[in-house]
């Protein structure tokens, strides 16, 4: 299905019967795994007809899902304190971790060999067989976000008191990037040099892990709950309350620090996502609007759609051709995007 250039073309909305909390595309973009807030783990095949396939449950609600980038494994965690590793071919899952506390973040490394999960103040790495390979405890606060460094074997964990970088090894090593504040997100730029985090105090903090410099981008007035880099690493986007801004890192001097506001949402922004290629950014807010931006070339949205309700998630497939959009009425819509 081809959409007009620079437009989002929606497919039919799928009724999930559950609240979409998280979603993950298979590497080839054919399958979409959806985590339900009421506990359902659903598999959708956008190119095939038929209802979503229920493949499992987490009692109390699913928290997170992740799909092995070029493989057939995926993982899920839930409010039952369990983490399961699934095989898409057999639809069989097995328990690899269980605790009283929730494992709130999951992420497969780019090479697909390691699965990271965070549980409270601890980060753990499992291999493809579900064996524990490394455990990093003792974070200052609960881990709020994790992100694998592109083209590297390190993972960043954000939390209250700063950022930590872990290398699985052997030998395993960790490095602290302390900052007096609560880090809420973790986003690497494409070359893996810059690590950005949205902060509770309304600023965005930036670490250059290659040069060991760090800087703080000015405050947005409310907690910055989401950050993201464009594919080229030129643009950094951040959302706080109803404010959506981007910084252009091609700018020099004082100009580089001045955010460009993308003013279109009238209510609290719910999610943002850069397309994995090009400079396309999508944002969605409680005003039910889904907006497509061509960052750097226009200050008005390129395309706009009205959602059924508040957006719960935005997930691009790895090739950037598809965008999954969840809504809080329990629906999921796939949009096609042709640049």
């Amino acid at each position: 299905m081809n959409a007009a250039p620079g437009r989002l073309a929606p497919r039919e909305r799928t009724e999930l019967g559950d609240y979409p909390v998280d979603a993950a595309w298979s590497g080839d973009g054919r399958m979409l795994l959806v985590a339900g807030g009421e506990g359902q783990l659903l598999l959708l095949a956008p190119d095939a007809s038929g209802p979503p396939e229920l493949i499992g449950r987490h009692e109390g609600g699913v928290l997170a899902v992740t799909w092995q980038p070029a493989g057939r494994l995926f993982a899920s965690s839930g409010q039952d304190g369990e983490v399961r590793l699934w095989d898409a071919r057999t639809r069989q899952g097995r328990l690899i971790h269980s605790s009283q506390a929730w494992s709130e973040q999951l992420a497969f490394a780019d090479n697909g060999r390691l699965l990271a999960l965070s549980t409270g103040r601890t980060l753990q790495l499992f291999d493809q067989h579900g064996e524990l390979r490394a455990s990093f405890a003792g974070h200052a606060g609960a881990i709020a976000a994790i992100a694998w460094r592109p083209r590297g074997d390190q993972i960043a964990a954000a939390g209250n008191g700063g950022m930590r970088l872990h290398r699985p090894g052997p030998p395993a090593e960790s490095r602290d990037y302390p900052w007096p504040g609560a880090c809420l997100s973790a986003s690497w730029n494409a070359d893996g040099r810059l690590l950005a985090s949205g902060m509770q105090d309304g600023s965005v903090h930036l670490w250059n892990v290659a040069s060991d410099d760090e800087s703080q981008l000015p405050g947005l007035g409310a907690k910055v709950f989401a950050t993201g880099w464009s594919a080229s690493g030129r643009f950094l986007a951040a959302a706080a309350a109803s404010v959506l801004v981007v910084w252009d890192f091609n700018r020099k001097g004082a100009d580089a620090m001045r955010p460009i506001e993308l003013a279109a949402h009238s209510e609290r922004i719910s999610a943002l996502a850069f397309r994995p290629s090009g400079s396309w950014l999508v944002s969605a807010a409680r005003d039910r609007r889904l907006l497509l931006w061509r960052v750097g070339s226009a200050s008005e949205p390129q395309d706009a759609h009205l959602l059924a309700d508040d957006c719960t998630l935005l997930r691009f497939s790895r090739d950037g051709a598809r965008l999954a959009v969840g809504d809080s009425l329990g629906g999921l819509t796939v949009y096609d995007l042709t640049p």
Binding site: Y19, V21, G37, E59, G60, G61, R121, R286
Partner: protein, 463 residues
């Protein structure tokens, strides 16, 4: 706005009975589904799908502003829980004993996403009647937990005597004039008095006690007696064990703490025109001035003279004399630093013909309540300016603020409540045609200045 899920915050020192109450809430058949977020070290032994252990995590901002601190763990957990919201009706958050209630309460005013889905319903503070006086003496947190409370559960009342209970209740009311005070043993209290109160039933709370609408007085009680000339005996002590003894409990725990009894009390005696409330009113300023003069130490047996501040040294059964000069028989007003029940004050052969209580005035507590009640309509913009200024300049000291406002040109009540610098308000039901429109505000906090607050309020009157 869709209906928000009510949140109850449970505070109180270790041993006050929080775990007992939480267990009762979980096990009692009340027909409600309540999600319980207990602190990591909680002792709730119930394995329950809606009991979630939280690691209390305070998010501070780099500017160090206490009013911006929130509970990061609650934002995450409640953010997840709301996604299955049709499966519970309300939320109960248990805090650790030493927790400052500020950040947990502020979380529900500051975080935009939580605010959309949850509303702080009430802060319930459990107070261990046996230990609260020592705790108040040694910990500012105990004081704050009471000051922040909407409901104070005075628990373990079977373990203190009537005099101590009266003293504690007065002291608690002196800190928070608007909190509902409920007596309990073993945290046994009807749950509808703790959960989903629809909050801050402000009008009821603000109507409860008028004492805090007045300037603080250095005395808690005044009474007028008719006394014949001659010598009268003023006795203290043995206020009477009129409380119920629960003979099932462990007697080792039944230790009325003698160390908590009052050691001294200040009294002033003044001639009164007659035995009327107006006479007490007329003497208030004289009595207040006398309470600011130097106190004369009075050992048991001392004869007390009019128009002097006596400091009675209390001992079990201590008696004092009052000599009424001849021919000045008639009415005499006695002003007492503490309520008579707290130290068993009584005059042999005489009862007060009229009496009046005043707000508690423990000067060791810098925390208190100040109320304002006024029928004049307010200018909404001016109110906004005033409250913004007040919260910016005094937000750290103002722990709680609640009010119902009579806004000019608005036929509905504006109801608000806040914590430190943040507050939440909305227009609620219309004013009734039967009762007059009247604004009522209360501020609970440290070092509050009535004059400053009244002047600020005055500046908001619609012209």
């Amino acid at each position: 706005m869709t209906s928000r899920i009510p949140v109850t915050v449970l505070t109180g020192f270790l041993g006050a009975g929080k775990t007992t109450l939480v267990n009762r809430i979980l096990s009692e058949n009340h027909g409600k589904r309540i999600a319980v977020i207990e602190n990591e070290f909680g002792e709730v032994g119930v394995d329950h799908e809606l009991v979630i252990g939280a690691d209390e995590e305070i998010f501070e901002t780099s500017n160090g502003c206490i009013c911006c601190t929130v509970r990061g763990d609650l934002i995450r957990i409640l953010g997840q829980l709301r996604k299955r919201r049709d499966r519970f009706d309300s939320v109960l958050i248990e805090t650790t004993g030493l927790a400052d209630p500020g950040p947990v309460a502020q979380t529900f005013f500051i975080d935009e996403e939580l605010k959309e889905h949850y509303a702080l319903d009430a802060i319930v503070t459990l107070v261990d009647a046996r230990h609260i006086e020592q705790e108040l003496a040694s910990s500012p947190i105990a004081l704050e937990q009471i000051a922040f409370a909407d409901v104070i559960l005075l628990n373990k009342i079977d373990l203190v005597d009537a005099a101590a209970l009266a003293r504690i209740e007065r002291r608690v009311r002196g800190i928070s004039a608007t909190a509902a005070v409920i007596h309990s043993r073993n945290a046994d209290v009807p749950l509808e008095r703790v959960l989903s109160l629809h909050a801050f039933d402000l009008e009821r709370a603000l109507a409860l006690d008028n004492a805090f609408l007045e300037p603080a007085r250095p005395f808690e009680w005044a009474g007028i007696y008719q006394l014949a000339p001659g010598r009268h005996t003023l006795a203290t002590g043995a206020p009477g064990h009129d409380h119920d003894h629960d003979h099932d409990h462990d007697h080792d725990q039944h230790t009325h703490d003698e160390g908590n009894r009052l050691a001294q009390v200040d009294l002033v005696l003044l001639p009164a025109a007659d035995a009327s409330a107006a006479s007490i009113e007329a003497l208030l300023e004289s009595a207040t001035t006398l309470f600011e003069s130097e106190a004369l130490q009075a050992a048991p047996g001392t004869a007390l003279a009019p128009r002097l501040r006596h400091r009675l040294q209390l001992a079990p059964g201590a008696q004092f004399q009052i000599d009424v000069p001849d021919p000045a028989s008639g009415c005499w007003a006695l002003f007492s630093e503490h309520a008579p029940v707290e130290f068993g004050l009584h005059l042999h052969g005489a009862k007060p013909l009229v009496q009046r209580e005043f707000g508690s005035h423990h000067h060791d507590l810098a925390v208190g309540s100040i109320g304002i009640s006024d029928a004049r309509a307010l200018d909404a913009n001016k109110v906004n300016d005033w409250l913004s200024y007040l919260l910016q300049s005094r937000g750290a000291d103002i722990l709680r603020m609640k009010g119902v406002l009579n806004l000019a040109g608005q036929n509905r009540r504006y109801v608000f409540h806040g914590v430190h610098m943040v507050f939440d308000g909305q227009l609620e039901r219309a004013w009734s045609s039967e009762a007059p429109r009247r604004s009522r505000l209360v501020f609970i906090g440290r070092h509050l200045d009535r004059h400053e607050l009244e002047a600020g309020f005055e500046s908001c009157i619609a012209r």
